[in-house]
Symmetry: D2
């Protein structure tokens, strides 16, 4: 008996749940958990079905191909670890949380490598025996720097890139290589405080709550599909620096939770939004 997860999305039409679950039943696959969502504004159907049984993947997918609307996306994924490359700058908290969670098995990932535009976090990477690649941006154009990063990444062929407080903007050309596969943590409750120094912006606006946002990276700065957000209360006693310090726990928790959802195949991208099933 194996466990696999069937991910389906296609344009909506009547009977989709019946068709898919019938095929699973015909294959003697038991449904452990099923979640579906229809976005009525665009008429699109999403379903995630955890299955248990003996799988004939090819026949199952073929049966689905015949039953579902033309162009339907369907995939059968197992629970093997996803390979990630992590990009960092100088701050340790997000990287540290992911390292501990990979170490104790809370996150279903293999960290293939860590790439930093500074070498500040090399000692932390080395504690966990993970290759650290220092790719300084100094003296390079953004394109040159990203070309070197791409070269460093591509030897590992990762499933996902994680920007764990990587403090540089990425060019569309770089982003396009890893479409819907780059996860960033932004240190504000987006869309509030887009761009640089969000804690300083939050301090100056006098907000009573600060937050963090994990999202897929797209061409537009801080505008990609949001995966997870969380907040904490602050008050007049917090300086911008205090907010940044207090925000660290939110940042790391939000990034790790978002990453967990992504590597467990819970997250569908739906235009500029996510559907999390």
């Amino acid at each position: 008996m194996e466990r696999k997860t069937l991910l389906t999305h296609c344009s909506d039409e009547p009977g989709l749940i019946a068709k898919i679950t019938n095929i699973c039943y015909k294959h003697q696959l038991n449904i452990i958990h099923n979640n579906e969502f229809v976005d009525n504004t665009c008429g699109h159907f999403f379903m995630r079905t955890e299955l248990e049984g003996n799988f004939n993947d090819a026949v199952l997918l073929e049966d689905l191909e015949l039953a579902l609307p033309k162009g339907a996306s369907k995939s059968l994924v197992d629970s093997s670890k996803k390979k990630v490359v992590i990009l960092v700058t100088k701050e340790a908290h997000c990287l540290g949380d992911i390292l501990i969670k990979a170490f104790d098995g809370s996150l279903n990932i293999d960290i293939a490598a860590i790439i930093g535009n500074y070498d500040t976090l090399q000692p932390l990477a080395e504690k966990f025996d993970i290759p650290f690649c220092h790719v300084s941006h100094e003296g390079l154009t953004r394109e040159q720097h990203e070309a070197k990063i791409t070269a460093a990444i591509d030897q590992y062929a990762p499933d996902y890139l994680v920007l764990a407080k990587y403090m540089r903007i990425l060019n569309p050309g770089f982003v396009a290589q890893y479409r819907h596969r780059i996860i960033n943590i932004h240190h504000s409750f987006l869309p509030a405080f887009i761009g640089a120094k969000p804690y300083l912006q939050a301090y100056e606006r006098g907000v009573k709550i600060i937050g963090a946002t994990a999202h897929f990276v797209t061409d537009d700065l801080d505008e990609g599909p949001i995966i997870k957000q969380d907040v904490i209360p602050v008050d007049h006693n917090f300086s911008a620096k205090d907010m940044a310090q207090a925000g660290r726990d939110v940042e790391k928790n939000v990034l790790s939770k978002a990453l967990n959802k992504v590597v467990n195949d819970n997250v569908f991208v739906n235009g500029n939004k996510t559907v999390i099933l």
Copy 2:
């Protein structure tokens, strides 16, 4: 085109989702939203299916009867307002919130009557033109008092009883008449601080968070299936009285949210727990 919700629960077996959704498809009913849950510890299956189309209720339920395991529970409910009777003592906040929400249509209920063991809230009931029935407990045994309350309630034949800070314990005999139809708000984060004066207990224990719990009433005090809980932070500055004051908003919000889930048929009772779909 009508909208109805199909509620199904039965012992679990393979193919249930396929069977139910197929029958819906055959009846040309479109699934607007579907949620299911299997409790593996007791092997029980729950499903809530929002449907749209032209319903032939009798045939649909007959088809389900043939397809589902013996003893399966299935019902088709529409979205008409549920009739409730509210029991109160002296505090206005929970009753007030329900009155405002019934007034502006946020809660899908008709308040048939309000019954108080004091007459404190009679003026509030009268503002909203709702019959208020004062059934004092003074000089009566608990059984005598409850017999009078039962008589007051039964002329209205309500779907649900709501204990909106009704501060008296109910006998098993009373509770048995309204099985899984009495919703209570307890002013603590159950199972912490069961029984009387939970805020005083919380103050004396020095907790940093207080809460409220909405639950179905069963024979055991504060032990029934929990529907909704929420909390707020407190600190050393809060006296027991401050906690009670601060807790009012949590109590009313938790009770109203639980009631909303119940009257929209989202709540299944599963032994001493709830499944909310």
Copy 3:
């Protein structure tokens, strides 16, 4: 024995706490609770001191005048109810919450009148025997409309105006009449989604949390000093309409909590921020 609260703010200098608390001690006033804050970016000192004893207000304030820096603001307030006028449009939830809280004494206010640009909420006002003044904006310029509202308000000489989902923008001329005395609830987590239809904006951005913000009204739309914010989680299942419905509880809770802080003299305005002591 009386209780009063001393509110002091002035430019910061060494010894202010010692000077103020000494004067209170000399007056045989016992400090029940004391909170202070220094904003180091602008060098300003704020203190709120709850006192108990026999007060000679004139002498106490004179002693403070001599001890504190030139231009210091100091006032002694008692706990009598603040008079408010509430402005509304069509939605009942914020008004309803304030009405219930004024009714049961949870909010230390007298509601002098309710003014609506529609008459939708007149029946609700009348239930609580509060004068309702319908000032339609139809056929009037903004200036004409506000002149009529000002006339309606000024007969009551309120301490504060509360915009309980009053859905019209106010001119600077109107705002200037009630400087730091108009409290608004905005149905987003400011500064995200400034302006119209914030729930639609939130839906379209695909955020995972929505919120509400209570703030003092200044000339710049949704840019005044923030008093209170709170949030709730949402997900892909929420339409813009669902968000608006779910947001109602946050809106009303945030507005009532902000109003409670204001009428209990906990809130100092500090430039475009608040200090809440």
Copy 4:
């Protein structure tokens, strides 16, 4: 110019704030931040005053001795790192979070040693070059085991012991050696689910929120003064194991935040409660 924090507590009487702040003023010490609290139920006064200036500690404390009630506690602490010893069993998440926070300077501690009753976490300790001491409990009475742990601890003379998911009960004799200096994380929202397997208890009760509690350890199991609590929502989909997994982030965050407050001298013990200033 130095920064130190003055911690004072004593039986309450009029004029305490004035007396203490006057002495600071006389010493030309500027108050950066001041917080005080009076527990009216026991008539006790607590104050925490952050000061800046040139300190003559001996004279300052002598002046306070003369001014304050007999038996007053007063101490002047600087911001040097506190020395801690951490006790663990097998779970890595709480230890990991503290290690990362000590590594990046977010927690003002030196970790002198880690002691485990299993050697599971020895590799993690070694990554951070922290002495790991394996003190197995196998074949030993509780007293024998604790004697060995005491011996291991005492060579380091730590300021605090941190029980980072140390899964054994401690004898009163052991606890008495480190009065108000042992910080434990309990994996429930105390006082709900005292004792073993709180997540299983929570699952069986069907609660909708789970939590964690950091507290000082006293003789009574899970009954010591609470420092910090936090919660997360759960629902019927969570098995006891899912709750345990989800609870990890809350546990580590609560423990780290409590530890941060303790090592920054924000926490006073007040009977069986804490006052956090």
